[in-house]
Structures are given as C-alpha cells and as structure tokens.
Subunit: 286 residues, 2 copies
C-alpha cells in the first residue's frame, strides 16, 4: 500500500482528482467526518426515505438499488435529492452495469429510473470489456458524474479476482476522467501494471476504494456474503469508504429510527476512528 496516499487526509486527496464527483465525495467525507456509505436495500418508498432520513446525518454517501423499489415514482427522486441537501450526502446508485456499450448507455440515461440524472456515482462491471466505460462516460461526464469499477466482490466464489481484477484496474487507469475508483477489498494503486501496460500512472496514483461486506461483529449470511470489521477494512486494508446496509437499519419492514440513527453513528465513528488511526500510522512512516 502507498504510504503516500494513506498518510493524506481525504480533503487533501481531493486535489488528486479532476472528476467533480470524486472531489465532492472526498470533501463531503472531510466535512462530515464520515467515511460511511449506507446501502439502503429496501423495497418501499416511505421505508427508503425513512431510513435515509435517519442515517443521513452520519453518511457521506447513500447507496441505492432504485430498481427494487415497488412503488417508485419520479417524485421519489426529488425527495431523495431533498434529503441529500438536508443531510449533505451524495448518492450512489449501485446499478452494476454489465452490458455492451450501447445498452449500458441507454440503461444509464433512459427508462423510468434515469439514473444518470440523479446518481452522483454509479458502478460497472468490467466483464463486458473496456467499452462500457466510454459508453457510460458519454452520458455521465457532462453531468459531473463519477464511475466505480467492480474490481473485487465480497461474495463467496466471486470471479472478480486475479487477472480479472488486474484487467479491471487497467481499464480504469485508461479513463481517469470518469473512473474515480473501485468497489474492492483492498487498495488498487499499482495493480495490473506490467510490461505491456501502455499507461504509466503518476507516482501519486489515487483511486477511491469503497468496500462492502462490513459488520461491527463479524458473521455471514446464507447467500454467500462474507463480512469484515471497519478496522480491518479501513486501517488494515487501506480502503476509503465502508458500505453498510442491514447492519444499520435491520431486517424489519419498519424502521426503528432511534436504533437506526444510533447504529449509523456507531459505524461512522468506527470507520472514522480507523481512518484517523491510519493517518497517524502512515504519517509516521512517510
């Protein structure tokens, strides 16, 4: 891991990015003292908004699956945006685009969900090949959006490992205007560099790393998800943003506002402490 990157504050690192969404996200993190992204995987609008309103004060980023919301109406986006302003967080639609270029462009910009029009950040798989990045950028760049590539996944038996991960990082490196970082389990600077690499990255190459699969107490679920703690993810693995879902708002269809807010604050605190410890550790090393 690059001590040079890890010794720097999120705010300082905003200077490494030309992409508007990346800069905004890093500055939001610094301002709110939060590297917590809350993944809001619920299926009804009011539940969705209630969770976001409860966790909003503690999150730098809200991750959505807009396509699972049963009673979606365009007005939901306005209400989501109002909460984004009220609580000062950014929005990440976890769409995992994974189609050929032309289709991905349409999926990003069209349909009832019109993701590009409201999601500051979205993500894509690299499996379809590098063309998916310019395809999405053709819509997103002019709107100030940023893209995360899925370099690794937290699910058991994922094929996003080894040479797949390396190829993903090489694709990202060729599109630094739009790709701001990765969904991954560790830092990605320098990954995938080899003799045949066309691109030599700058010495201070900096990708944001957002990491799912966290719990304060570590267990697993029956559909193959594996979990780590905030300290393991931020301090030991050097990741930047922790993504937490049901661990914060529970499995019920109704939200317990107080417990949800209190757990969000716990995760924020755990993630931020791990980051402060990391700054200290790498500052003394560099």
């Amino acid at each position: 891991m690059s001590a040079k990157i890890l010794s720097q504050t999120y705010g300082k690192r905003a200077e490494h990015f030309d992409n508007v969404a990346a800069k905004d996200l890093l500055l939001t993190m610094e301002r709110k003292k939060s590297n917590l992204c809350v993944s809001v995987d619920v299926t009804h609008s009011q539940h969705f908004l209630d969770v976001i309103d409860a966790v909003g004060p503690y999150a730098c980023l809200i991750k959505t699956h807009i396509d699972i919301i049963e009673d979606f109406e365009p007005s939901l986006i306005t209400r989501l945006q109002d909460l984004s302003t009220k609580h000062d967080f950014m929005i990440f639609e976890d769409r995992k685009f994974a189609d050929i270029g032309n289709t991905a462009t349409l999926q990003y910009s069209k349909g009832v969900h019109k993701i590009a029009s409201w999601a500051h950040v979205t993500n894509a798989h690299s499996v379809a090949g590098p063309w998916i990045i310019p395809a999405l950028a053709s819509v997103g760049l002019q709107l100030g959006r940023g893209l995360l590539m899925l370099a690794e996944m937290s699910s058991k038996g994922s094929l996003a490992t080894g040479s797949y991960t390396e190829a993903t990082v090489r694709m990202a490196r060729e599109h630094r205007d739009f790709v701001i970082g990765f969904i991954a389990q560790r830092r990605m600077e320098g990954v995938g560099l080899n003799a045949s690499s066309d691109i030599v990255p700058p010495e201070d190459e900096d990708f944001l790393v957002l990491t799912p699969g966290l719990q304060l107490d570590v267990t697993g679920d029956h559909l193959g998800q594996q979990y780590r703690t905030p300290k393991e993810v931020v301090l030991e693995a050097g990741c930047d943003v922790i993504i937490v879902g049901r661990g914060i708002y529970g499995k019920s269809e109704h939200i317990d506002v107080q417990s949800t807010a209190s757990l969000a604050e716990k995760y924020r605190e755990a993630g931020w402490s791990a980051y402060e410890e990391r700054l200290k550790k790498y500052s003394s090393e560099s």
Copy 2:
C-alpha cells in the same frame, strides 16, 4: 462439439430438459421453425410493441431491456404478453443480473418491473459467484422460469473468456434445474470439466446456446461490438438461437413495418437453413 446433440432436432432435445422454460422454448422453435430471437432495444412503449408485433411471427423469443423504456407502465407487460400469445413467442429479459444473492433476488422479483412475473427466461453474470443462481432460482423456479448464464460476450475485450468461462459452466452444471444454457459464442458441453470437478455430467449433456452479435452482412459498431453471420453461428459454431436487434428494425425512432417484417423473415430463414444444414451434417456423422 457433440455430434450427438447437433444431430438432434430442437423438438427432440426438449426431452433433455426438466426445466419448463427450456422445454417450452425448444418446442416453440420446432413449431415455428425459428431459432431467431429479436432483441428489442428501443426506449418507447409504442415503438417497442410495434417492433414486436412486426417481428413476432418470425421469432421464437423476444429479448427485452425493460429498464430502458421511458414510458413504462405495468400495462405494457399485459400488452407484451398479449403479443406473446398472438404470435407464439417467449420472452427473455436481458437483465444480466450481477449482484450478490440477496440483491439479485430483489431485483428479479421486486421493483416496478417485477421481471420474474413475466419473463420466461432471464440471464445472469457469474462474476458475483455461484450464489446468484440459487438466489434467482428461489424466485424463478416455482414460476417455471429458466436462467441463462453469460459464459462469453460478443463485445471486444470482454473478460468472459478462458477460466472465467469455465467457472461459469461449472456453476451452471451444478444447477441444471434452473440454468438452461448460456449466452455464448460456441457450444459449452464438456467445458470446464477437470479433475477437481465434483459433478460428472451425463453423456448427453445439453445446454441451450444463445448467441448475440449477428448480422447478415458482417461489420462492427463504434462501441466495441463484433459481428458474425447466422451460418457461422449456427452451423459452424453449433449455437442454438441467434439474437438480432437493430439489424432487423433499424436505427430510426419509427418502425417501417414492412421492411422490419421482411428482415425478420430473412434472419429466421437464414438461421433455420443453417440449423437444417447442421442437422444433415451431424446426422451423417453420428
């Protein structure tokens, strides 16, 4: 390639499958003398229905991207189903699920699109790992649905090659009740078998292979798609269903019904001739 499979009619091969959607699809192909799947990648409901009504008589399968339709209403599904009955074709939502199990389950069953409730067939990437299959099966199997795994892609630079493709086929082989075949460029029987394989497939292992990236005349588009002819795909590579999109209904926002129907018939005829030639070739070999 297995001469045993390729010497058999689609109708005969229906006996190899327990999955309802696979059986239905093969019998539809036989009945309609069509191995043509038309990919309807348009963004407005009326255009969508007009294209389907024009190509319906020639297609065994209509492939949709329901998430790009701007004016989607639940009633569109009823109208799509009416056309499916009128013209005797099945429906394949090309969703390319690619998330962890729990999320994929929700994306398949919930949201405004409720894909599982109407799409006879859908597809998934293997990148998230094998858990995506039982996750989707937990919703789809009881509805008589079938799943295609993306083993290969037609886009340039796709990472679905080599060991990725092999791992995908192994995942499919472990879930033959739900996985009916592949999106691929060639036949997949026997692929990925190695000393460590837990599962020994039957001698007459049979997967459906659906293949995109076709044109009657071969060229390429600027977003990295590569094309082959129906003869190359069905006769030479042994694939079962050809997937054709804009090559049939053109790039305009409005449909020329006569030209669209005529091109669909041309592709149906080209695909079916290649299949008949294949039957002849492999019957004499086996």
